[in-house]
C-alpha cells in the first residue's frame, strides 16, 4: 500500500518519544510537551482522511484494551488508532471475565503483564485505578478514564479540536457545563485548557459543581446565561441518568430548562462560539438537537474524528519511547 510520502514523512518528522512512560493524567504533559504532540496528531488527522490508513509505526507491538467499564466509542477509538499504527490489539472487558470471579485488579494486572503487552489502555470505575496498574506492570499504561478522576486523551482531543477551530487555545474562554462533580472529562480539561492559557468557567447546579471548584482557578456560575456571557467555547458534559433521578437534580425537564444548552442560551455566548460534547449525548437533557446537529457551531463530530488522531499520537509517542528504551 502506497502512502503519499510527504504525509508519512511529516509524521515521522514530528514523532518524538512521549515525555513520560505512562499517560495517566493531564499532568503528564505540560505547556512545552503538549504542542508537539498536537502537531503530530494534526498530521494524523490528514493521514486518516486518506483512503489508505495503514502505518507500521507499532508493528510487532501489542496493545491491550482493558475496559472495566462499558464503553463503545473510546474503546473503538483506541482500537482503530492502534490498528492504524500497525499494532496487534486485544480487547478485554474484565467485567465479564475473571474480575467477576473475584480476581483483584492487581492480580489481573499481573496476569496480563505476563502476556507481555506493550501498551495497556485502561478504563476503570475507580479513581486512581490506572495509576495503580501502572505501578504493577512493565508496559506503558494509558488512562482511558478512571472513575471521576481523569480522562486525559479526551482533553487532548478537545485541545486538538479547539486548536483546529480557533488556531490557538490561549486566550479562549471556555465554559464547561453540567455535571462537573462526577466528570473526569471536566477535571482533565480544566488542567489542560489552563495549561494552554485558556480561561475556564464551570457552570452547573450547585449540587453538580464541587464546592471548592473555585480553587481550581475557575470562575463558577450557577446561572448558565450569566456564565456563558463572553465565552468562545461551550463544552457540555453528559448528565448520567442515575444522577437525574437521584436527589442531585429534580428532573430532566428542569435540568434542561436551566442548564440544557439550547439556541437561546447559546446566544449569550460570544458570536461564533463553538459547542463541544464528549458524547454520548442526552438530547433534550443537556443539549438541544438543534444546537448539537448544527455543524456551523457544533464541534461534536470533529471531536470524534480528532479522538482517533489524538490517540494515534499518544500511542505512537509511547511506542517511540519504548523503542528508545530498548535501544
Amino acid at each position: 500500500m502506497s502512502q503519499p510520502a510527504a504525509l508519512t514523512d511529516l509524521i515521522l518528522e514530528r514523532l518524538a518519544p512521549f515525555p513520560r512512560s505512562h499517560f495517566l493524567s493531564a499532568g503528564d504533559l505540560n505547556a512545552a510537551t503538549t504542542p508537539p504532540l498536537l502537531d503530530l496528531a494534526d498530521a494524523f488527522v490528514d493521514f486518516n482522511r486518506q483512503s489508505s490508513k495503514s502505518l507500521d509505526l507499532m508493528r510487532g507491538r501489542t496493545v491491550m484494551n482493558l475496559f472495566f467499564e462499558n464503553s463503545t466509542r473510546t474503546s473503538a477509538s483506541f482500537e482503530i488508532a492502534a490498528k492504524r499504527l500497525g499494532a496487534d490489539v486485544t480487547a478485554l472487558s474484565p467485567r465479564t471475565s475473571s474480575t467477576a470471579k473475584g480476581e483483584t485488579l492487581i492480580d489481573t494486572a499481573a496476569t496480563l503483564n505476563a502476556m507481555k503487552p506493550d501498551v495497556l489502555v485502561v478504563r476503570h470505575g475507580a479513581s486512581g485505578a490506572a495509576a495503580l496498574l501502572s505501578q504493577k506492570v512493565g508496559c506503558a499504561v494509558v488512562n482511558a478514564g478512571d472513575g471521576r478522576h481523569e480522562h486525559p486523551t479526551q482533553a487532548l482531543l478537545d485541545l486538538l479540536s479547539l486548536r483546529r477551530a480557533f488556531g490557538d487555545v490561549g486566550g479562549l474562554t471556555v465554559a464547561i457545563c453540567g455535571d462537573i462533580a462526577h466528570s473526569r472529562v471536566a477535571r482533565s480539561n480544566v488542567s489542560m485548557l489552563q495549561m494552554m492559557g485558556a480561561r475556564v468557567r464551570l457552570i452547573g447546579p450547585p449540587t453538580l459543581v464541587p464546592g471548592d471548584a473555585d480553587r481550581w482557578g475557575c470562575e463558577v456560575f450557577h446561572d448558565m446565561r450569566e456564565g456563558l456571557k463572553g465565552c468562545d467555547v461551550v463544552m457540555m458534559l453528559r448528565l448520567q441518568l442515575e444522577r437525574m433521578e437521584g436527589a442531585l437534580v429534580p428532573s430532566t425537564r428542569e435540568y434542561f430548562r436551566f442548564w440544557g444548552l439550547d439556541r437561546e442560551k447559546l446566544s449569550w455566548a460570544n458570536a461564533g462560539a463553538k459547542v463541544m460534547h464528549p458524547g454520548p449525548m442526552n438530547r433534550g437533557v443537556e443539549i438541544d438537537s438543534d444546537v448539537a446537529d448544527d455543524l456551523t457551531v457544533s464541534l461534536i463530530q470533529d471531536q470524534v474524528e480528532m479522538g482517533v488522531a489524538a490517540r494515534m499520537a499518544v500511542l505512537a509517542a509511547l511506542s517511540a519511547r519504548l523503542d528508545g528504551d530498548a535501544a
Binding site: P205, P206, T207, A247, R257, F258
Partner: protein, 428 residues
C-alpha cells in the same frame, strides 16, 4: 376601579414605625397616598370611609396555611380558607404543599394560584414541596416551581431526615436564591410524641419528646445553611433552647429567618388539661417558660413571621383519644384577636406584634404588600384593637371548627378587609 379614602384612622405601620393619626388614599388597587396627622380631606368623587379613630394597618400575611384542596375538600377548600382569611384580616395566605397530591411541581403551583385568584377574595400564594411527594428523598422541581411562583419550599411537618438529601436541596436551591423552610424536630426523638417531656406528660401518660429534639435538629439545619449558603426559614420555633441556637447563629452573621405559630405564643402545655384534643398541636405545646421566651423573641425582633399555623381538621379527626387525634388547629380568623392578646395581656407594643404579621413575612418572601406606602398594593385592614370578643368556633367561616380559642374571651375585631383596593369583608 373606584378610589377609596380611609380617613380619621389610627395608622399602624411597622415598616415606618408609625403609630398615629392619619389617612390612606387608594386607587386602582394600590395605595396612592399615606397622610400622617389629622385633618386629611378626601378628593372629590372617592368613596370615603370614616375610620373614627380605629386602627388601620397593612393586611396580615400568613405564611403557613393548610387547606384540603386538592385531596381533602371536606375539611377546607381554597374558598373556605379565603373567606376565613378575609374575615380574619389576613390579606395574603401561603398555601402549604402537604395536599393530596402534594404541591410538588409547577402545574400544581399554577393550579393553586389560578384557583385562588378566581375566588377574588384574598391573595392566595403557595409554597412548594422540597422533595417529590414530600418523600424526603427525591428533590422536587424547585427551579420550575420557583418560576411558577412558589414563594418557598418545605416538606411542611415532615422532617427531611436524610442529611444528605437536605444538603442537596439547600445547595441546589441556592442557585435560585430560593427559600427553604424546615421544621426543627429530631425525627427519632419526636417519633410518636404528642407532648413535651416533663412532669405533665408523665402524669398524663402521654408519649413525649424532650424539648431538645427541636434544638438538635435546628443545629443540624443551621450547619447545612452555613455550608450551602441557602436562604433558610426555621418553621415554627417553639422552645427556648432553639431560640438560643437561632440567636447564636444570627450573631455569627448567618441569615436565617424564623417563624412562630400564634398557638405557641398564646398557650402552654397546661392547656392540654384533661386531654383536650384541640390543643393537640405539632410541635406540641411547651412549658410556660418557653412561651415567655417566644414572646421576648417577638419583642426583640428575632421572629420574622407569626403564623396562624392554620390546620383544619374535621371533628371526627379531633374527637379521639389525645394521642390519636389529628394535630393542628384552625387559626385564620382568630389570628388578629389572639395576637392582640399579647398586647393587652403580655405587654407587647402593637407595632412589635404587627411587624411579624405584615412587614416581616413580606420582606422574607419578597412581597410588595405589608406596608402603608404609596405604590404598595392596597391590602389593608381596619380593626378595633380593644373590642371584646368571645370566640365561637361554630361561627368560623372555615369548614373545620377545630379552634383551641373556642369559648375564649379575646380583644380585637376586624371590621374591614381590603385586598387590592376591593372590600372583601365588612362588618362595620
Amino acid at each position: 376601579m373606584s378610589a377609596i379614602a380611609i380617613l380619621n384612622a389610627r395608622l399602624l405601620d411597622p415598616a415606618t414605625d408609625y403609630d398615629g393619626p392619619g389617612a390612606v388614599l387608594v386607587e386602582d388597587g394600590r395605595i396612592t397616598e399615606v397622610i400622617h396627622g389629622g385633618g386629611a380631606v378626601a378628593p372629590a368623587g372617592v368613596t370615603v370611609i370614616d375610620a373614627a379613630g380605629l386602627c388601620l394597618s397593612p393586611g396580615l400575611i400568613d405564611i403557613r396555611v393548610k387547606t384540603g384542596e386538592p385531596g381533602a375538600e371536606p375539611k377546607e377548600t381554597l374558598k373556605s380558607a379565603s373567606l376565613s382569611a378575609a374575615a380574619g384580616g389576613v390579606t395574603t395566605i401561603v398555601i402549604q404543599p402537604d395536599t393530596d397530591p402534594a404541591i410538588d411541581d409547577p402545574a400544581m403551583i399554577e393550579f393553586i394560584l389560578r384557583r385562588g385568584a378566581a375566588l377574588g377574595l384574598v391573595n392566595v400564594r403557595a409554597a412548594g414541596a422540597a422533595t417529590r411527594a414530600r418523600d424526603g428523598v427525591h428533590m422536587a422541581e424547585l427551579g420550575l416551581m420557583d418560576e411558577a411562583g412558589a414563594l418557598y419550599f418545605t416538606d411542611v411537618d415532615r422532617v427531611i431526615a436524610n442529611t444528605r438529601t437536605l444538603q442537596r436541596v439547600m445547595s441546589y436551591a441556592a442557585a435560585f436564591n430560593a427559600l427553604i423552610s424546615c421544621r426543627p424536630a429530631d425525627p427519632w426523638l419526636s417519633e410518636g410524641a404528642v407532648a413535651t417531656s416533663g412532669e405533665l406528660a408523665t402524669r398524663l401518660g402521654l408519649a413525649s419528646a424532650p424539648a431538645i429534639a427541636e434544638r438538635i435538629q435546628l443545629e443540624r439545619d443551621l450547619a447545612l445553611v452555613e455550608q450551602t449558603g441557602a436562604r433558610f426559614l426555621v418553621d415554627q420555633v417553639s422552645t427556648e433552647g432553639a431560640l438560643e441556637t437561632l440567636a447564636r447563629a444570627r450573631a455569627k452573621g448567618l441569615e436565617v429567618a424564623a417563624s412562630v405559630s400564634i398557638n405557641h405564643l398564646c398557650f402552654n402545655e397546661i392547656d392540654i388539661g384533661d386531654y383536650r384534643t384541640f390543643y393537640r398541636l405539632d410541635p406540641p405545646l411547651r412549658p410556660e417558660s418557653d412561651r415567655q421566651a417566644l414572646i421576648e423573641a417577638v419583642r426583640d425582633g428575632l421572629i420574622d413571621a407569626i403564623t396562624s399555623a392554620h390546620a383544619p381538621a374535621p371533628a371526627e379527626d379531633k374527637r379521639r383519644p389525645f394521642a390519636e387525634a389529628t394535630p393542628g388547629a384552625v387559626g385564620l380568623e382568630t389570628l388578629l384577636p389572639a395576637a392582640l392578646t399579647l398586647h393587652h395581656e403580655d405587654g407587647l407594643e402593637l407595632l412589635d406584634i404587627l411587624r411579624p404579621l405584615t412587614q416581616g413575612p413580606a420582606t422574607l418572601l419578597g412581597l410588595e404588600a405589608g406596608v402603608l406606602k404609596a405604590g404598595a398594593p392596597a391590602d389593608l385592614i381596619l380593626f378595633d384593637a380593644g373590642a371584646p370578643v368571645v370566640i365561637d368556633a361554630d361561627a368560623l367561616k372555615s369548614k373545620s371548627k377545630n379552634s383551641p380559642f373556642d369559648g375564649r374571651r379575646l380583644q380585637g375585631r376586624v371590621l374591614l378587609t381590603v385586598v387590592g383596593g376591593r372590600i372583601v369583608h365588612d362588618t362595620r
